[in-house]
Amino acid sequence: DQQVKQNSPSLSVQEGRISILNCDYTNSMFDYFLWYKKYPAEGPTFLISISSIKDKNEDGRFTVFLNKSAKHLSLHIVPSQPGDSAVYFCAASTRTSYGKLTFGQGTILTVHP
């Protein structure tokens, strides 16, 4: 039972345009959501997070939106750069879970110059 799903295995975007990565979840107990970026042969690196009490969080070129009623979150990258090409994972946790994260399958983002 996949509680966190990223239904798009890959996304291709032109440099300078917006990248939108999507994530859906089924567990209504999740109250904290994170996005990680992963380059080949490296560990995931933290990008941005959002608490369930918010619907938007921004950090530079990265914005995460949370729609609790739809159990959906998205990551917007504007403008996209070739260095953003990586695998992006969304993850979720609950306050009672010792910080354990449940991950989506990942989306491969390719930004073309």
């Binding site: 966190v4 990223q6 109250d31 904290y32 994170l34 990680y36 042969a41 490296e42 560990g43 995931p44 690196t45 933290f46 997070s49 608490s51 994972f89 993850a91 946790s93 306050r95 009672t96 879970s97 010792y98 910080g99 354990k100 994260l101 449940t102 991950f103 989506g104 399958q105 990942g106």
Partner: protein, 115 residues
């Protein structure tokens, strides 16, 4: 970057042999986690620790055991490796963990191949 190292970084072993992977942190964080990454599954939690000698199972714990005798070290052991345990293993740490909205920081990973 969080001070997390994993050893070995690569290992090839044979079915039925024991294997131990080590995670070492210099951040003095209380919480440590072991995940495995497989195509189509993202990262899945194997075991985690919420303090020295305090560990618990994650989503995919069968065939794995862990130990934490010091704050800085978290060991993952495959008692008798199987081909289904071929994967990339990541260690992660967090400072706050339970009851808090905290960020986990990941090590560089260990690529394990079981022949």
């Amino acid at each position: 970057d969080a001070g997390i190292t994993q050893s070995p970084r690569h290992k090839v072993t044979e079915t039925g042999t024991p294997v131990t992977l080590r995670c070492h942190q210099t951040e003095n964080h209380r919480y440590m986690y072991w995940y495995r990454q497989d195509p189509g599954h993202g990262l899945r939690l194997i075991h985690y620790s919420y303090g020295v000698k305090d560990t618990d199972k994650g989503e995919v714990s069968d065939g794995y055991s862990v130990s934490r005798s010091k704050t800085e070290d978290f060991l993952l052991t495959l008692e008798s490796a199987t081909s289904s345990q071929t994967s990339v293993y990541f260690c992660a740490i967090s400072e706050l963990g339970a009851g808090m909205q905290d960020t986990q920081y990941f090590g560089p990973g260990t690529r394990l191949t079981v022949l």
